[in-house]
């Protein structure tokens, strides 16, 4: 008879690593998404090109390859990262590239009429973006940001490949030591689902808050 409590504890330790990766990866992704998304809308050609190059590169190559570059290739350029740093970097930049397009789309969805009102009221481009466009664009971004965050959560499983002891890595360890596949993998199945569910609930709460008073009525 196997004493499962120790093994489950191991998986829970891994679960914490997964949570950490998801939170830090999402934070990086969010920052990058806004920088690149707004960068694509810049009036400066150089900024637009830079943002577009980043987005196309990170959407066009696999997270797996990006992770290996961050962990195994960057040291040749003199940049050595811990597995956690490499994981956060690859996940954040990868998901941030998708998020950038969400930011761009939402900002563009705020119509010409709002922009023209800003010009007529003599707001600067920055003031218009900060006070008028972004506050209205943000609620439009939230549903897709929720999707992206869940994608990122599930993407964290690849970091086990660079020996980071996340939930999936620990499940493999438990499987190797006990010979049981069902219990460790059923456990992480439930844990992933619960985490994704928490993200969903959080996003729904944010959507409700952000949508207050707007109600989609033309003004």
């Amino acid at each position: 008879m196997i004493d499962w409590s120790g093994y489950i504890g191991l998986i829970l330790q891994g679960a914490w690593v997964t949570v950490e990766l998801t939170l830090m990866g999402s934070a990086l992704a969010l920052v990058v998404a806004f920088a690149a998304g707004l960068g694509r809308l810049s009036r400066f050609m150089a900024v637009r090109s830079l943002a577009t190059t980043y987005i196309e590169f990170f959407r066009g190559t696999s997270i797996f390859v990006q992770l290996f570059w961050a962990y195994f290739v960057l040291p040749f350029a003199g940049i050595t990262l811990t597995p956690l740093q490499a994981g956060v970097l690859a996940l954040g930049l990868n998901v941030g590239a998708y998020g950038a397009e969400v930011v761009r789309g939402a900002v563009k969805a705020i119509g010409r009429e709002q922009r023209e009102a800003c010009i007529a009221l003599n707001l600067t481009r920055y003031q218009a973006m900060r006070h008028i466009i972004l506050p209205q664009a943000l609620p439009l971004m939230l549903p897709t940001f929720g999707n992206n965050a869940i994608e990122l959560l599930k993407g964290t499983a690849v970091v086990s490949l660079i020996s980071l002891t996340d939930m999936t890595f620990q499940a493999q360890v438990v499987r190797a030591q006990t010979g049981s596949t069902l219990i460790p993998f059923a456990t992480i199945l439930v844990l992933y689902f619960v985490m994704a569910w928490v993200i969903s609930l959080g996003m729904r709460w944010l959507e409700r808050r952000a949508g207050r008073g707007l109600d989609g009525v033309r003004v």
């Binding site: 009429e113 009102a117 007529a120 003031q127 006070h131 008028i132 008073g213």
Partner: protein, 261 residues
Amino acid sequence: MSEPIIRIDNIVKKYGPLTVLDKLSMEVMPGEKLALIGPSGSGKTTILRILMTLERISDGFIEVDGEHLYHMKKDRQLVPADERHLHLMREKIGMVFQHFNLFPHKCVLDNVTLAPMLTKGMARAAAEKRAMELLDMVGMADKAKSMPAQLSGGQKQRVAIARALALSPKIMLFDEVTSALDPELVEEVLNVMRRLADETDMTMLLVTHEMGFAHDFADRVLFFDRGKIVEEGKPGDIFRHPKQERTQAFLRKIIAAGHRV
């Protein structure tokens, strides 16, 4: 005799191959109330949009309050205006739009105080005091805390007028401000504008299809067709004794469509 506050000199506006304004010139005196009428596509709204710097001109010059709008002096040469120059010029001009363009995520009061606080550095208390005076003038003081989505079209437009006035522009542009309103809401907006015309010496340019209102409101009426001013004069002359064939045809159509003159 004072100088014109707006001087438009041979401006051309093209969208690709389409010429919307064709070497158009006109002048507006300070305090003058001007009605721009004409068929849609005649260029009258484009004039307002150009004055508000929402559209650029393809050729020509515009002076507002003694300064070039789209040009500035640099080493004694006239060069195209930069964003900073446009920013300074926009202080003189306010605009009210057909579709109100209120900020849906801000309450009525914040819609009015936002620009004075951001562009003039006004303190919140002072901006709110001024906003409440303006909202009172347009009859919307009791809705200061409402969101735009809770208002009727006429109420939104009155808030939009207060919002534009909050920056104390010398020139106000009204672009078909009652066209998007249900008929029974038109009068409340027109009343506000009548009061504004009576009580202030602001220069006002009005693009409208409300001929009766144009008649009462304007000192001078300009009839536009195909990018040119076909006829201009006092409202009584334009509406009762139009000289040009095209003006007569336009007014006949408008009257046939049930608009009162």
